[in-house]
């Protein structure tokens, strides 16, 4: 079963903050985040492993709460380049084959 992402779409002005959520009905070992710009391949952002850690680089960070079976991606002071569709990919087992189940995506549009 695919994880549920919310919101499905959001429009923000440059400089505003965004939060994208990813919830699973299964226990999770890890959550991966990717961004896909229109007409391009999805690009890896970060991985969060079981342990509740928070990761980030630049103004994009994420948290993972394995008890709640959910992860959130935080985009701070958004830039035009942040526009795209964000996908979370979840792994319930950590079995080593890196097999992920992806959510349906959140389309983020940043306007000047």
């Amino acid at each position: 079963q695919q994880p549920v992402q919310s919101p499905q779409a959001v429009i923000l002005r440059e400089g505003e903050d965004a939060v994208i959520n990813c919830s699973s009905s299964k226990a999770l070992y890890s959550v991966h985040w990717y961004r896909q710009k229109h007409g391009e391949a999805p690009v890896f952002l970060m991985i969060l492993l079981k342990g509740g850690e928070q990761k980030g680089h630049d103004k994009i960070s994420a948290s993972f709460n394995e008890k709640k079976q959910q992860s959130s991606l935080y985009l701070t002071a958004s830039q035009l380049s942040y526009s795209g569709t964000y996908f979370c990919g979840t792994d319930p087992g950590g079995f080593g084959n890196e097999k992920l189940t992806f959510g349906t995506g959140t389309r983020l549009t940043i306007i000047p």
Binding site: A41, I47, G89, D91, G94, N97, E98, T104
Partner: protein
């Protein structure tokens, strides 16, 4: 930089044809994946392979098969193409790990079945 190359960016085929989509990666990755991407449905896994000649079904394998004869190449086969297989197909690869290895994607093949 990792490069995952898909043989065609756009492909048009007719119903009933046997269709081959090819994917090549240059990073010696153990794992390779085939997804299809449809509006509102996200990325859905068709098949994946964790070693040469090894494969496992993903979430939507019906109507598809795969082949991995060499480590760097993973082929997706539509045995008898149907219109409901019109979609964007994405290939990805990764190192083997413990759920801690990113997947690297190709640019995709937009397949239309007429």
């Amino acid at each position: 930089d990792v490069k995952v190359t898909q043989s065609s960016r756009y492909l048009v085929k007719r119903t009933g044809e046997k269709v081959f989509l090819e994917c090549v990666q240059d990073m010696d990755h153990e794992n390779m994946f085939w997804y299809r991407q449809d509006p509102g449905l996200g990325l859905r896994l068709i098949y994946f392979s964790y070693d040469v000649k090894m494969k496992e079904k993903g979430d939507i394998p019906e109507g598809y098969s795969v082949s991995r004869e060499k480590k760097e190449r993973f082929s997706l086969i539509l045995e008898s193409a149907s219109t409901n297989q019109t979609s964007m197909y994405l290939c990805a690869s990764s190192f083997a790990g413990r759920s801690n290895q990113p997947q690297h994607f190709g640019d995709g093949t937009r397949l239309s079945i007429l």
